[in-house]
């Protein structure tokens, strides 16, 4: 035994308690986990929203954009037209308002266009994939395939790429330079787009072009019609055509008074377009109530602001020249509209039908194995493959919700599966983590921060021009908005666990490396888990 240099027992050497391993007291141990943020879980394009917000929070927009681009090739488009289901499930909604994910996404997308940020592709694989349709789904598939090193050639029947993003969504919601910018970037990656090239013989084209696989995403373009007894009816148009007409040649002539029949987003787009084209009156006639309208509420709101009129619970019974007979409806117990026998009339010059679109997949009928639903929609498995091996499909033409984002998500999923298919394997998505519920968070720690509001164009210009209605966030606001993210379920290195442990049993590993528990000393009090703002620590019982 060495000679102690201090007076016995009364005087002790500092830090000597490290010999006392208090970890043995523990009955539960804290464990760091990564959980699935609800926004990520809800994003149809499978974006790692929280992941890119993390970088945006630091003001590193390029890094943020790169993370975003792993899943979605068109953030500037999505930041404008995506219906952002992420925000509906954002946990911050239960605190104040959801993070304006789309606004930050748009900001990043715009930054990328402004600064000409580029995407890196993997080395050439030598494989070639045919993509039919340059809508969002086809573009996304081609983009992801290119990133993975495969050659992608898109054939599109139309004169310009973009599908419904161009021929459906009006430019006041999606300026064409933005759309063009993002499509151009895809092309610059080496994706070849052959326009005015309607595919009739898919199998032939594949053989001719030496393609190893194909992805079809031809959308839904056949306007649905309805029979209305009409005598000397004025103009009856369909919405898709009107909107398409806006992009090709001279704008359609609609007259002073326009009635739009339908209740979807298309109806609103076309009504708002009519207003901008000079119609005195754009009146939407819809069978059901506002609450039941498939159109998104914010779009209804914007349309009403711009002077679009809506007649709820009404059907058009008869048209006699410019006189429309409209029957009032009532909702039955199940919420279905039932005729009341009460009629009214109204005057209009043009009727635009906005009753939805069907798919035109006739050109695929001959391909062996492909299975169709009765409305022409093509069946795919969970890997987006049709019944024909090597032939994949997605977007509006397969059974699913019809949105740009879903289409882009299909494109991504298809690309990953095509890649696996080309390598003779199957793609297995990694298992999903548990989704973070609001109750798992300790929201005390987040600052009170109201959502940033995007600027809106002034009303006169909204009613008369096709300028973009909703403005983007500036840098400060975008940064602020990004920082509203709660980082649900994933450690964002707030140091709370490191700070609140009464036993110093949390080891800080330095920026980006998170933390580690020192189980030698952790007594298992659970303070770290309770005080973790984002629910990234769970307590698990110790087994003896």
């Amino acid at each position: 035994m060495s000679m102690p240099k201090r007076p016995f027992a009364i005087t002790l050497d500092v830090g000597s308690s490290l010999a006392n391993l208090t970890g043995s007291w523990r009955t539960e141990r804290p464990v760091y986990v990564d959980r699935l943020p609800p926004c990520n879980a809800a994003c149809p394009a499978g974006e790692n929203i929280q992941g890119w917000l993390y970088h945006a929070e630091e003001g590193d927009y390029h890094a943020a954009w790169q993370v975003l681009m792993r899943d979605n090739p068109m953030p500037a488009v999505h930041g404008r037209v995506c219906y952002h289901p992420c925000e509906d499930s954002c946990n911050r909604r239960q605190l104040d308002e959801p993070v304006s994910i789309h606004a930050v996404e748009r900001f990043l997308g715009d930054q990328a266009i402004r600064h000409g940020w580029k995407v890196e592709c993997a080395p050439e694989s030598g494989k070639r994939v045919l993509v039919v349709g340059a809508g969002p789904s086809g573009l996304a598939a081609a983009y992801h395939l290119r990133r993975m090193g495969h050659a992608a050639v898109i054939h599109d029947a139309g004169p310009l790429p973009g599908g419904m993003m161009r021929f459906g969504i009006p430019k006041y919601r999606l300026p064409r330079d933005v759309l063009d910018g993002e499509i151009r970037r895809i092309e610059e990656m080496g994706v070849e787009i052959r326009l005015n090239s309607k595919v009739e013989n898919l199998v032939g084209l594949m053989n001719e072009g030496g393609f190893d696989a194909a992805f079809v995403a031809v959308g839904a373009h056949l306007a649905r019609r309805v029979d209305i007894p009409a005598r000397d009816a004025g103009k009856i148009l369909d919405a898709a055509n009107v909107l398409r007409g806006m992009e090709t040649g001279a704008p359609p002539r609609l007259g002073r008074r326009v009635v739009i029949y339908g209740g979807g987003n298309t109806a609103l787009d076309v009504a708002r377009t009519a207003k901008r084209l000079g119609a005195d009156e754009a009146l939407i006639v819809y069978r059901r109530t506002r609450e039941q309208m498939p159109a998104h509420d914010f779009e209804v709101e914007e349309a009403l602001e711009e002077g679009v009129l809506v007649r709820w619970l009404s059907t058009i019974k008869r048209i006699d020249q410019t006189t429309f007979t409209v029957e009032r409806m009532t909702l039955d117990a199940t919420g279905w509209p039932q005729p009341t026998g009460e009629f009214e009339t109204l005057e209009a010059d043009t009727l635009i039908l906005a009753l939805g679109q069907d798919v035109d997949t006739s050109f695929m009928r001959a391909i062996p194995g492909v299975v169709f639903r009765k409305d022409g929609v093509v069946e795919v498995d969970r890997n987006m493959m049709t019944g024909h091996r090597g032939l994949f499909a997605g977007g509006d033409m397969v059974p699913s919700e019809r949105t740009v984002t879903v289409a882009v998500g299909h494109g991504k999923r298809a690309a990953r599966n095509i890649d696996a298919y080309l390598r003779g394997t199957t793609h297995e998505a990694p298992p999903k983590h548990e989704v973070v519920a609001f109750e798992m968070l300790n929201t005390w720690y987040y600052t009170d921060a109201d959502k940033m509001v995007q600027p809106a164009l002034d009303m006169i210009r909204r009613r008369t021009t096709f300028e973009e209605v909703t403005g983007g966030l500036d840098e400060t606001n975008a940064l602020f908005e990004a920082r509203r993210c709660l980082s649900c379920g994933n450690c964002f290195e707030c140091d709370n666990c490191y700070g609140v442990c009464p036993d110093n049993a949390v080891i800080k590993l330095g920026p980006g490396n998170r933390f580690r528990f020192n189980y030698d000393f952790c007594k298992g009090c659970g303070l770290c888990a309770a005080e973790c703002p984002c629910g990234a620590i769970v307590m698990v019982p110790e087994t003896i």
Binding site: R6, P7, F8, A9, I10, T11, L12, D13, V14
Partner: protein, 417 residues
């Protein structure tokens, strides 16, 4: 330099010469003049950077000293009587922590009844606290003991009390040789603590110690006292060589050659005893005295050697262990264990009761003739006692409850003590 000064001032000057770094005090008669003197000296800047703290209690005074000492400063305080009891917890603590604090006790009785006059009840109550206790006979010794006290305290890392009889010494004007700073510096080296609070070498001092080590810690405190027993004569010797006069030590015999009766006492009363002895010697009585200059550690062997020739020993003490008798006497008996020498206890001077030579002479003579009662209460007014006991008896009877209890116990009419 010889000065005709008040004892307290001599002590203050001696303490100042020891270059204390922290002095703290709370006033209590008869200690006041010492700290008043020191506060003036400190204010005049005569002890360098020394800090003088006016604290709010004796408990705080000693606690401040404890903190200062643990931080490596030479720390000093002084108190008396109630003050010493008020700081009792800290008294034990300072000793337990081995902090070389020097504290002057201006010895005074403990109340109730409150009494400001001299006896040794106060310091005696702390005799087992682990402090060294040195008792001064004169003001010169009172001053000198402080130099030795600091050196002893710091060499052994233990606190030392210098006990000085209140008023009799503290307020008496006598000639005192106050040494020069150079002389004191040569005798008392700077304080080098064995354990110190220092951010450059952090330690934890004052740990909680359980049954597995507490006993050893206590033994070590005892052992330190035994070491002090060896060191005190050495320091006293060194002091005598350096200053040319005797002060302190363990036991100091006076005319014990051939003495059949030896008086043992502490403090200033030794002076009166010496006078009495001179008188009695002159009359042919074989009597001498031994001064107990150090009461803790108790110099068992030295005292036994000093008393071995005596036929009887009389311990005269200014404290009373109620229910027992003499405190010093019991200790002296321990020094003489195995011998048949009778040890008589004389309790004297409580609460400042004057101890006249005549009374001493009478008592010593009775002892010399082995006729003294033991313990003997010197000049106790038995008339007063008897009267009061009678009164108390009356009153106690009159209380029906007490009476009934006593009757029930069959104790009525018996003397209760």
């Amino acid at each position: 330099m010889l000065q005709q000064i008040e004892g307290s001032q001599a002590i203050a000057q001696a303490v100042a010469l020891c270059r204390p770094e922290v002095i703290c005090a709370y006033p209590i008669t008869p200690q006041t003049h010492i700290v008043e003197g020191l506060s003036e000296i400190v204010r005049e800047g005569r002890i360098g950077n020394c800090q003088f703290l006016n604290v709010e209690s004796e408990f705080a005074a000693l606690s401040v000293a404890i903190g200062a000492s643990a931080a490596g400063a030479r720390a000093y305080t002084a108190t008396s009587s109630q003050g010493l009891l008020f700081m009792a917890e800290a008294v034990y603590n300072a000793a337990g922590l081995g902090l070389p604090i020097v504290m002057t006790i201006g010895n005074r009785a403990i109340g109730a009844p409150i009494n400001i006059w001299n006896d040794h009840s106060d310091s005696m109550s702390m005799r087992d606290s682990g402090w060294v206790q040195l008792y001064a006979e004169t003001n010169q010794e009172a001053a000198d003991l402080h130099f030795q006290a600091f050196r002893l305290a710091e060499e052994l890392s233990m606190p030392v009390m210098v006990c000085v009889d209140g008023f009799i010494l503290t307020h008496a004007y006598e000639q005192v040789d106050v040494p020069s700073q150079a002389e004191v510096d040569a005798y008392l080296p700077p304080f080098e603590p064995v354990q110190v609070l220092d951010p450059a070498d952090p330690v934890s001092i004052g740990a909680m110690v359980g049954p597995e080590a507490f006993f050893e810690v206590r033994y070590l405190a005892h052992h330190k006292q035994l070491q002090a027993l060896e060191m005190i004569p050495r320091l006293a010797g060194a002091f005598a060589r350096a200053f040319g006069r005797e002060s302190g030590g363990l036991v100091v015999p006076y005319r014990t050659e051939g003495a059949k009766t030896v008086i043992v006492a502490l403090g200033s009363v030794v002076g009166t005893i010496k006078d009495t002895i001179d008188e009695m010697r002159a009359e042919g009585t074989e009597i001498g005295a031994v001064k107990l200059a150090t009461f803790r550690p108790f110099p068992l062997a030295e005292l036994r050697a000093a008393l071995i020739e005596a036929e009887r020993v009389v311990v005269l003490e200014k404290a009373l262990a109620a229910g027992l008798g003499g405190i010093a006497a019991s200790n002296v008996r321990m020094a003489l264990r195995g011998l048949s020498t009778p040890v008589y206890t004389v309790i004297a001077g409580l609460g400042g009761r004057v101890i006249p030579t005549t009374s001493l002479k009478r008592a010593f003579a009775e002892a010399h003739a082995d006729r003294i009662d033991d313990p003997h209460f010197l000049d106790l007014d038995w008339k007063v006692i008897d009267k009061e006991l009678a009164r108390a008896k009356e009153r106690r009877r009159s209380g029906p409850i007490a009476e009934n209890i006593l009757r029930g116990l069959g104790l009525v009419g018996q003397k209760l003590f």
